[in-house]
Amino acid sequence: MSGEKKIRVDLALIAGMVQPGSRVLDVGCAQGQLIEHLTKAKNCDARGIEIDMEEVQRAIAHGLPVMQGDADTELVTYPDAAFDYVILSRTLQAVEQPREVLRQMLRISTHAIVSFPNFGHWSLRLQLLTRGRMPMTAGWNRMWYETPNIHPCTIKDFFALCDMDGSVVEDWLAADEQGLRTPWRRSPRLANLFGEQGLFLLRKA
């Protein structure tokens, strides 16, 4: 493992929400870039779950604690409040039961950090309106019949779900595809129109 490295911008935004020295579980951690960053730069006890066996192998071979598993089925195996943060980065739209996954996250952890591609972005709306076909963009780039993103939602939808389940939104922001912060973060309506990704820090009420 090398020392501190620059990480992807969207991961840096997530890392910015994590307090140093925390216990962290990164769900859908891929090769563990964020885990490595949190371990080295923030002195966290960070672990990961990843569904893709090859990614898991790469992560472990890189010295990172990762287990192969599925967010839909593995989170239930952790005890209550085992972590300070559970992170679900760009994965919510691909799980079988997003609502249950969120519930489990807030059961096993004090905080949940969730990012997802915003289906309410203007370019998607426009494509659907003008072409009448499922939109294709940089972020939504797989045909409807083969996309793993089976549960797309908008930033507004996500606020509504948090409201319904009584989750407290401690912080949120909208970002573009690269993960750069976008300026309309205090207006959910504008964020829902212009933000390509939503990023939320939640805790249980």
Binding site: M1, M53, I60, A61, M67, Q68, P79
Partner: protein, 418 residues
């Protein structure tokens, strides 16, 4: 120890005949029709001077009996660092031995895990101090059924050797580790029954294990596992040369029974896919049909596995150690709740399974990973894609080796090992 695939090509001249003990004479080597390959002139488990240490204070066993004196045969590789923090204990499988990274001097066979342990290997002996001990009950120098009877002077234990458990084996290893002046092992690593020992270490002596790596293992022996072992034991019992376990006294060995036990077990170590790939329905000789004998290539392969095994292993040890694995049930020791068993565990875990292993299938490792999660332990878990079955952990599996190496490197950073 499981034999590796490259030896499959040798077997064509080895055959069993139907009645090796005909006429009641089964003295070694005298029945010319008995495995044509001559058994080693030295019976397994003789007085070969294996490196060992004896603990005369004895050992109280799980079964309630006491071994008055315990000898542990072991080997070490690499150098222990100044603060004694770089020690790795390797636990061997059912029929393995302490010669993990060098040829076994008694059998001449290469070290059973030379692919994994050695200079520059995943378990790098230039970096770590590696210890491997022959298990309690074994026949390569450690106390076992071939040792002097603890209660009857002049006799050997034989089948009177107490029932031992995986936990007992580990308690003996702990004595050895302490004897070597080590208070905490950097890692304990083992496959199959070796993996069971790793789990026992992590649960019995959590403070002494920084990293635990059970490979192709399970936290209990399933009914199917026990069933296969029982076939092997019955084959040994049924051999007229077994003589109630007193075969040494009469100068014979239950080679036929032990070979059949090994043949049965060997099938469980390989996958159907691997057997098909290596042998398929290939015929051994094309000279017409034979009712018996080696019609198919896979038959002579198995017979080779059986006959080469009896040269190096003792039947009573086989009985003792198979029973120890059958008795292993980590959850059972904790009221059926596996997570409770792991509650005290402090180690960083790496669990590895192999996709075609049907003896200790991935589901078993996953169940352990979940139980460890439940106990909030630090666990890595991966299933390595391989068509080689349970044996894969001993064979050339670069993905597995890279995973193990990376895990140890990561742990070394956390442990402050440089």
């Amino acid at each position: 120890m499981l034999d590796n695939a490259s030896q499959a090509s040798a077997p064509s001249r080895i055959r069993f005949v139907a009645h090796p003990c005909s006429g009641g004479d089964c003295t070694q080597g005298s029945a010319s029709a008995y495995p044509v390959v001559r058994m080693d002139q030295t019976p397994a488990g003789t007085d070969f001077p294996h490196q060992s240490v004896t603990f005369p204070e004895g050992l109280a066993l799980d079964c309630g009996r006491v071994l008055p004196s315990v000898t542990v045969a072991y080997r070490t590789y690499g150098a222990l660092n100044a603060d004694k923090s770089n020690a790795i204990l390797i636990c061997h499988a059912l029929t393995g031995d302490q010669y993990v990274a060098e040829p076994n001097p008694e059998t001449g066979r290469p070290g059973w895990w030379e692919r994994v342990v050695g200079p520059g290997r995943a378990v790098d002996t230039e970096k770590y101090f590696v210890i491997c001990a022959n298990v309690l009950g074994g026949c390569m120098g450690s106390t076992g059924p071939r040792s002097a009877h603890g209660e009857r002077p002049g006799a050997l234990w034989g089948t009177d050797f107490p029932v031992i458990t995986i936990h007992d084996m580990v308690r003996v290893q702990k004595r050895l580790v302490e004897h070597l002046g080590i208070s905490r092992l950097f890692a304990v690593i083992g496959g199959s029954m070796g993996g069971m020992q790793v789990l026992s270490w992590a649960v019995q002596f959590p403070e002494m294990v920084f990293a635990a790596v059970p490979i192709a293992a399970a936290c209990y022996h399933s009914a199917q596992n026990i069933a296969f072992h029982e076939i092997g034991r019955q084959a040994i019992f049924a051999d007229p040369c077994f003589r109630n376990g007193n075969y040494w006294a009469e100068g014979v060995r239950p080679e036929r029974g032990l070979a059949v036990a090994r043949m049965t077990a060997h099938i469980t170590y390989v996958s159907e896919e691997a057997l098909t790939r290596k042998f398929g329905r290939k015929l051994q000789n094309a000279e017409g049909l034979a009712a018996f004998g080696e019609q198919f290539a896979v038959e002579s392969y198995l017979q080779y596995q059986g006959s080469s095994f009896v040269q190096r292993f003792d039947a009573n040890s086989y009985l003792t150690i198979t029973r120890a694995t059958d008795l292993f049930d980590l959850a059972g020791d904790h009221g059926g709740a596996l997570a409770d068993a792991f509650r005290a565990a402090k180690s960083r875990f790496l669990l590895v399974s192999f996709s075609s292993d049907w003896l200790f299938p991935t589901a078993q490792s996953r169940a352990m990973a979940r139980a460890l999660n439940h106990a909030a332990a630090n666990v890595s878990f991966v299933e390595v894609q391989s068509d080689k079955g349970h044996d894969a952990f001993l064979l050339d599996e670069p993905d597995f080796h890279a995973t193990l190496r990376g895990f140890l490197t990561g742990c070394a950073e956390h442990a402050g090992l440089t």
